[in-house]
Amino acid sequence: MSVTVFLFYFLSVLAIGSALMVVISRNPIHSILWLIGTFFAISGHYILMNAQFLGIVNIIVYAGAIMVLFLFVVMLMNLNTETEPKKNKWLKLAGVVSGGCLLLVLVAALKTAEKHGQLVQLKEGDIGLVGNLGKVLFTDYVVPFEISSILFLSAMVGTVVIGKKGD
């Protein structure tokens, strides 16, 4: 078992375990911290596939900005207590069973897929480097890139309007 394969399994177990803990934890703060662990595991996967730009952006944007925003909201509203009331056991079981059934159906559909055993390139290949991605982003995809700045502007205005107190 080579180091790459070992790293793949290690990061996969880390990602799935942290994702399960996000759903299981009763305290919202613990859920957020486990979700940060999941994002770091996914960033490890990106770096293993030599998508270095996305690995770094994933850490900066998700683990750095978005999760800090979540933590900020939870602590601001004093939600870090286990206030969730006991709910119906059967309802919870139904949710888990339907999620598991979806997984089962999708994996069964994968079994009958047309092409099997295509390989994913690990550790090499230079399409994920910052220079190559930037060259394509600023030539072929420059219009969507500029439009996303308008999206950000409208999101900023919308956040301020929604979050404003009064009226």
Partner: protein, 109 residues
Amino acid sequence: MKIEYYIVLSLALFCIGIAGVLTRRNAIIIFMCIELMLNAVNLLLVAFSKMHHLAGAATNPTAGIDGQLFVFFIMVVAAAEVSVGLAIIVMMYRNVHSVDVNFLNRLKH
């Protein structure tokens, strides 16, 4: 590494997110499970991009680079979505003093 392993990993993460949305009632945790589902899709897109790069690198040196750019744009949209969604949750907490989604089952007040 075969593509099937990545597909199964992403499916597992996605279905954990769906189970979380169905079982939890805290609006913030439901929102976090949606982020988890987005990240599962991102991981699968990057894996497919590297698969296509391996298959088509001989004819086109930048084969598969579009997948990674889509992931970049998904991250842009997710950042905007999170800011607006958290503002909505804050406003909901101000109105009903709770983030339990069961209090929202009536659309009056």
